[in-house]
Amino acid sequence: MFCDTLFVSCKIGISQVNAHQTITLAEPVLAPASIAPGGTEEISKVRFERVAKSYPAYRDKPSVQALQDIDFGVPRGSITGVIGRSGAGKSSLVRLINGLEKPTAGRVIVDGQDISALSGKDLRLAQHSIGMIFQHFNLLSSRTAADNIALPLEIAGWSKTEIAIRVSELLELVGIGDKYDRYPSELSGGQKQRVGIARALATRPTVLLSDEATSALDPQTTRSILDLLASINRELGVTIVLITHEMSVVRQLAKEVVVIDAGLVVERGHVADIFTQPKHEITQKFLAEVLGDSVSVSLARRLEQRPIPSGQAVVRVQLRGTDAGDTVASRVARELGIDVALLAARVDEIGGQHVGSLTLGIPGDETAHRRVLSWLSQYPIPVEHLGYVA
């Protein structure tokens, strides 16, 4: 069991079962895309092929077209974020991957296997290699942390000894080795999600689906859970598909982003590209949330549309990964001799690029304002003239 040729070995100290023994623990490794046979087809861990999903009318509810024309691949070993607003179709999308939902049209291919065509025993077998974690953790209140993690193993028909060893490994992996005999009611939200993650990984899946897994957690706990997911992806090579309505989650974790709206994929690509060159309006709105593109309430209240004598012109400069943006404030001051005031700023590093916005106050008369604006226009950075403040 533990020396399967498909797996490499790594060593983890076990505290529960054998306190002083080191157990050889097998985990699936990321198969580099370069050695995968065939073309692009094989690089995708999960492939949506012209998938549509609709729900028939039922009782007082009309029929719903949840997804249409979904056609993209999730690269093997990647962390792919699927972002969309509530009701955009994210939940349906992720449930198509593990066969909880069947597409109305098209195919969903996981590891070269058409999961949408499987049913009964074959589907259940395939589901052992796809783990899933949930917003509300969905732990059994009647089972301890260890027994919750054991559940998928019991279902997969593992022996008691195998289960005991595996559960100890998993508790250590997610960093809650001391909580094995605690019931969910005795655990914090973050600890519950760690149990959920351990449970999802129990049967050594190669795909992990995350359904808003951090939406019920505070920012600090969210951070630690996202770090854990990142290390699982890095060390175990598990492909992660995470759906979320928070761009901050995508920014912290994902390498690929798929933006969906009203059942359609409206934009997708590398995180850095999406963050630096958002094309779709929905994407821009999501970006505004994390990058603070909206003007603060107090500043908005003071903004006037007409110039104010001895006031400042308010200009917002978007930083979208171009080098020019980083030093714009100091260069205006140096090259034009105008001391600009920094009214608001938000800068993040995303995929190695600086992304964010600066809101600057330019003193002086209208000539000075025009000089600054025309100076800025020589660079390929978006600039907005918001108005004037006293």
């Binding site: 039922y58 052992h128 899933m132 969905n138 009647s142 089972r143």
Partner: protein, 221 residues
């Protein structure tokens, strides 16, 4: 109260407990699967079979809406077929079981429906079969509620078991009717009532305690 009367009460209590425990066990044996099925067989559910669900629901409702004393008399031929007689404690088990099974089924259905639907989806996501979902998720998660439901059923059965006394069923009800009512022995009637109260209190207290012990949603430490 004479020693004879006391031994009569002890004997009748034994008969009542026998009827109730056997009937409760049999009714659970039938009622639990029916209840689980009722809770999981509507459209889109685990064992989706809406027409069977509806038919079973009608049968359950019909049995439950028949007054118990009428049910006892109405099924006498069936009771004879099963027990060989329609008189005595063993025979009384048949109508008691038939009355309690649909009651338990409805209580079980309600308890199972209280289990968070997300847990069913979770188990399904890691490849659990419908039967595994019932045995490993639904029943364990509903266990505290199921214990309370069975407690309620046993208490009701104690009441029903006294009623079968009116038609020769034996037990405490029989004693109360024949000695307390027909022979005008108020002390016997009082004794029967006191024993029944003690039995109901004990069953309820034990059921509450067990349900509380099993409920892991509450913090224990």
């Amino acid at each position: 109260m004479s020693r004879d009367l006391i031994s009569l009460i002890i004997e009748a209590t034994g008969e009542s407990l026998f009827m109730v425990s056997v009937a409760a066990s049999l009714a659970t044996l039938f009622g639990l699967p029916i209840g689980v099925f009722l809770a999981t067989s509507q459209k889109g559910e685990l064992f989706a079979a809406p027409s069977v669900n509806a038919a079973l629901g009608i049968i359950v409702n019909a049995t439950r809406s028949t007054p118990f004393i009428i049910l006892v008399v109405a099924i006498i031929p069936f009771t004879r077929l099963i027990a060989g007689t329609s008189i005595g404690s063993s025979a009384a088990i048949v109508p008691l079981t038939i009355a309690a099974a649909p009651f338990i089924a409805r209580l079980v259905e309600a308890a199972i429906r209280e289990v968070d639907g997300g847990l069913i989806e979770t188990a399904a996501s890691f490849g659990a079969s419908p039967l595994q979902i019932v045995l490993k998720v639904l029943i364990p998660e509903a266990l505290p509620a199921l214990v309370l439901a069975l407690t309620l059923a046993v208490v009701s059965l104690l009441g029903y078991s006294a009623m079968v006394g009116a038609v020769g069923g034996g037990g405490l009800g029989d004693l109360g009717i024949r000695y307390g009512y027909q022979r005008f022995m108020p002390e016997m009637m009082l004794a029967v009532v006191v024993v029944l109260i003690v039995l109901v209190q004990s069953v309820q207290t034990a059921g509450d305690y067990l349900a509380r012990r099993l409920n892991r949603r509450l913090r224990h430490r």
